[in-house]
Amino acid sequence: MSRQPGPVMVASGCGGTGRELAAYADLVGLDFVTRSITLDPRAGGPAPRIAESPSGLVNAIGLQNPGLEHFLATELPWLVRAGAHVFVSIAGGSMGEYADLARRLSRAPGVAGIEINLGAPNQVGEGLFDVREPYHAASVVAAVRREFPADLPVLAKLRPDLTRVVEGARGAVDAGASAVVVGNSIPAAMPDGRPGGLSGPAIGPVSMRCLVEVVSALDNVDVIGAGGVSSVEDARRLLDLGASAVQIGTALLHDPTTVARVRAALTREEDTR
């Protein structure tokens, strides 16, 4: 069985291709979740793509990515060579696309695991398979799990929707997810009204509530906390509440050294325990 990720991971969409982050963090052994990769390239949304809101950022990137082919040929080999533990975030327009992505990734050397993006704030508008119903999300997890080596983790990243998150987590785990990631940007609007997702410290308490609910409802399930983590204290709080690991995203956009600092502090704590 491969190593479980953590205690600190780079959240999807906030680590660039990895090369840019390398100036500010040692990638060796770092759990790096890629931006969401789709089967075909996606150009993403129009500018402006990000707006500031108090203690947060609203983004409408539109899942810009070079598509699986290009990713496998260039970005993945670079990350693997740099020594990162690469978790490939995937998003699909249909159940079949998710299965295809998982099958192709199962043959790609160096992939440490898959993270299924089941919580994009604008899932439907972006042409992704509609997983707002936990039942559909679980079907996606099952489809990915079937195609991906059993000894490699499949993480299910859920939307921080308090009314459905426990049900979503249970469904994902029953369908074979190795762990659930609780937290994602939450549905919001850009200043001109376009759909976007809010992230950053502004959503920290929301993510934490969702984490607490999932941790207390599900026994013996690895729950990875994400959403609004920007300091060692934030990370420690989620770990103390039962998270098996934490993801750091938006904080990296404000201070690209955040992951390195939090990782160093938590690793020291583990060593002295």
């Binding site: 500031e52 956009l253 050294t257």
Partner: protein, 271 residues
């Protein structure tokens, strides 16, 4: 891990603050950054008040100073609460600084005739560029433009940096009246220009790139797109470009730019 040429993230300190026309010039001690600087680089600075996006600032000058080691001068144009806060930083204030960032201006191998066109505060990176070009034996012509006299950056200093200087103001308060678009053809003609460098707002960059193209001169433009992270992590500053094979694609303004060949920018698609 950080290599010796890559950007650094450091806590800097404001050493001096000076009003330059409508702008604010901050001299910052930011250990390690000045030594890595090349003309066209910028720094990203954090602001207060729970504002997470970084504020990109052009590096105007690096100096070998005494007690504080090398320092860098950045230009702040106060346009919103973040940049207004920055412009008000007093001497001694701490700032989170990341840099040097972005692709710098490419320098010609031969001593050719160069025209450098800067509008408003965006003219900042052209001054260190002029210095480098002069060291290489290039004939440097500077065009400094702005809406009015206060909107010109370092027009006086320009005379020290270049063989010829053209000053353009929108209201005609100094130099010739008009905008870059109306005068650029004549300047390029008079200087028998081989290479054009430009920094400023999009319409001006487009006009310069088009004028260069008509003459068959090379152009490089320094784009100012809003950059949420400025480090290449977020994909929030898309710039449409047309590659050599004629295929249009998106690059990131912060790491693939800010300096891009003028004939590569997809001016129709950019916004």
């Amino acid at each position: 891990m950080a290599d010796e040429h890559g950007p650094l993230h450091v806590t800097g300190e404001v050493l001096a603050t000076k009003k330059v026309g409508a702008y604010r010039l901050l001299t910052i001690a930011a250990p390690g950054i000045p030594q890595r600087f090349r003309a066209g680089n910028f720094v990203a600075v954090s602001v207060d008040g729970g504002r997470l996006a970084r504020r990109p600032l052009w590096i105007h000058r690096v100096k070998e100073a005494g007690a504080f080691g090398a320092t860098l001068d950045v230009v702040v144009k106060a346009v919103g609460p973040g940049t207004t806060w920055l412009a008000q930083r007093p001497v001694g204030a701490r700032l989170e600084v990341t840099g040097p960032l972005g692709r710098p201006f490419a320098l010609p191998r031969e001593p050719v005739a160069c025209v450098l066109v800067g509008d408003g505060h965006s003219a900042a990176p052209l001054f260190p560029l002029a210095e480098r070009l002069r060291q290489r034996g290039c004939a440097v012509t500077l065009v400094v433009a702005g809406p009015d006299e206060a909107g010109l950056l370092s027009a006086l200093e320009a005379r020290r940096s270049a063989r010829a200087v053209t000053v353009i103001t929108g209201d005609g308060s100094v130099g010739v009246r008009g905008d870059v678009g109306t005068h650029i053809e004549g300047v390029l003609e008079r200087a028998d220009t081989d290479v054009v460098y430009a920094a400023g707002p999009l319409p001006m960059l487009r006009a310069v790139a088009a004028a260069a193209e008509r003459r068959g001169s090379w152009s490089q433009v320094a784009l100012e797109t809003p950059m949420p992270c400025a480090t290449g992590l977020c994909q929030g500053c898309p710039v449409p470009v047309v590659s050599q094979d004629g295929v249009s694609r998106l690059v990131r303004g912060c790491v693939d730019g800010p300096v891009i060949r003028g004939d590569r920018v997809d001016w129709e698609a950019i916004r």
